[in-house]
Every structure is written in structure tokens, then in C-alpha cells.
């Protein structure tokens, strides 16, 4: 059985994938995970998850190209510049 291991570096931080361990059961998996990802003080907590429990999604349909749904689809810089000019507070006039 393969178990995926996630580790938290400091309290309050998000868990990040650390690697995986092969083990005959959950108990061994926890022991091995502790040994490989927690023994040197590099983690404050671990999540040990059977690989089958992880659902991977890798299709993200965007047929109509609605780029405003994406963070890179809505550039603010140009719009901000225009707005400043309208308000008479552009960087040029202030300097």
C-alpha cells in the first residue's frame, strides 16, 4: 500500500505534500512517515493518507474562454491607470 504524506511545518500553516511511503498497513505507514518526515523537527504535524483516498482532478473546462474567471484574465494595471487619469490623480500629475 502506498500512503501519501503531507506535513505542516509550523502551527497554522497549510499542509503541503511531503512524499509517500510504502507500508503494509496504516500503523506501519504512520511509523515510517514519522521517521521520514518528522524526526528531525521539520514538521509539527503530518497527514498520512492512503493513496486511493486522494481524488485527483485534472480537467478544467473553459470552452467559452471566459478569461475573467482566471487570475491572469483581469489585468488591473491598465484599468487603474485610466481611473487615476479620470480622477486627476495620475502618477504624472502628482510628481
Amino acid at each position: 500500500m502506498i500512503y501519501e504524506v503531507f506535513r505542516q511545518e509550523r502551527k497554522g500553516q497549510a499542509f503541503a505534500h511531503a512524499g509517500s511511503v510504502e507500508a503494509p498497513n496504516e500503523e506501519f505507514a504512520e511509523w515510517y512517515a514519522r521517521e521520514e518526515f518528522g524526526r528531525r523537527g521539520e514538521s509539527v504535524a503530518l497527514w498520512v493518507v492512503p493513496r486511493e483516498a486522494v481524488h485527483e482532478i485534472d480537467e478544467f473546462v473553459d470552452e467559452l474562454g471566459r478569461n475573467y474567471h482566471r487570475v491572469d484574465g483581469y489585468p488591473l494595471k491598465e484599468k487603474l491607470k485610466q481611473a487615476r487619469e479620470r480622477a486627476g490623480t495620475s502618477a504624472d500629475r502628482r510628481s
Binding site: V21, E22, A23, F28, W31, Y32, R34, E35, E36, R39
Partner: protein, 198 residues
């Protein structure tokens, strides 16, 4: 010389030296699996346990070294084979027999737990403190031994190994012939360069 020092072994060292020697020699034997354990995760785990045992030996040697007018390194590496007080049980070279290795691991952790518990209750606060500290690591060794025990307990090979090794657990006395080779290897550097450190 260490050997003369040991003839007047202190009251504190008397019960502690056999324990430290057991931990050192068992750590050495278990580390013989490094690189060839049944699978990678177990290789890392078992090597780490071996390293812990040697760490426990070091801590105990340090505790008694001052009283004996010596150092941990001298106790670990500069004694004559006959001055080591480890049991033949830990001297057995069990590579490449994993069933026997795990059988010894289970039997040893069980016996060691009782021994450490006695030290935790000792009147000497330094000894009791160190024993408590060691025990906090041993908890994980016992978990590891228990997991393997549950996994192998129905295997005839493992049951035979347990039967074979059980009578040796509390045996003390003459070293096994294979201890000589371990000692040669373990003390080689210090015998070539007196006082070598890392």
C-alpha cells in the same frame, strides 16, 4: 587505563554498564541491516532504531564516565573484549535472517522495558532522569516491535526464532565467538589512531 579503572567500578556504573554495552552492541548488530533491510522504509526505520540504541549507550557511558575517570569514547571503544558486559543475546549476528532479527528485537524491547522501568524508579535522580528520557524514545521502538510481532506471529519461521532466542534473553557470561570480530571492527579506528575522534 580503562581496564584498571573498571576493576573499581562504582556503584552507579555497576548496573548501568551492562545496559550501555547491550545497547551499543545491539545497535551495532541492527545497523548491519542498513542498506539490505527487506524494503526501503524499513531500512530507514531499523537504521534509525539502531542509531537510537547507540545514542542511549553514549548517554549512559557519559553518565558513568566521569565517576570512572574516563570518557564515553574510551568506554565504548578502548576496552578489551573481556571487559564488555553485554549479553551473548545481543552479540548474535543474525543478518540475513529477518525473522530472527525481529524476534530478538521483540524479546529485547520487552526485557529492556522492565530494566528501564527499574532505573526510572532509582533513587539517583540523574539515573532516573536519563532513564525516563531514554524510555520516551523506547516507546517508539516498542511500537515498531509490536507492529512486526503482530505481522509475523502466525509465521512458523518467526515462532521458531522466538523459541530459539527466548532462553538467551537473560543470559550473561562468556562472549560468543562472533563477538571477537565485531569488537575488531568496532575498535579498529581507535586501535589504529589512539584517541581518534570524529
Amino acid at each position: 587505563m580503562v581496564s584498571t579503572v573498571l576493576r573499581r567500578v562504582s556503584a552507579r556504573a555497576e548496573p548501568l554498564l551492562p545496559i550501555a554495552d547491550d545497547e551499543l552492541i545491539l545497535g551495532w548488530r541492527n545497523s548491519e541491516w542498513t542498506g539490505i533491510a527487506p524494503f526501503l522504509e524499513e531500512d530507514v526505520a531499523f537504521s534509525s532504531i539502531a542509531q537510537n540504541e547507540i545514542g542511549h549507550a553514549r548517554a549512559i557511558y557519559q553518565l558513568v564516565a566521569e565517576e570512572l575517570g574516563t570518557t564515553a569514547d574510551e568506554l565504548a571503544f578502548d576496552r578489551k573484549p573481556e571487559d564488555y558486559r553485554c549479553s551473548p543475546f545481543v552479540e548474535l549476528r543474525l543478518v540475513p535472517d529477518w525473522a530472527k532479527t525481529i524476534a530478538r528485537h521483540c524479546l529485547y524491547e520487552d526485557a529492556d522495558q522492565r530494566r528501564i522501568q527499574e532505573l526510572i524508579e532509582a533513587d539517583d535522580p540523574e539515573v532516573a532522569g536519563l532513564a525516563a528520557k531514554i524510555d520516551r524514545e523506547e516507546v517508539y521502538h516498542r511500537m515498531h516491535a509490536q507492529m512486526w510481532f503482530e505481522r509475523l506471529e502466525d509465521e512458523p519461521q518467526f515462532q521458531e526464532a522466538l523459541e530459539e532466542l527466548r532462553p538467551l534473553v537473560d543470559q550473561r557470561g562468556e562472549h560468543l565467538p562472533e563477538f571477537e570480530h565485531l569488537w575488531q571492527e568496532m575498535t579498529e579506528v581507535r586501535r589504529s589512531v589512539a584517541g581518534a575522534t570524529w
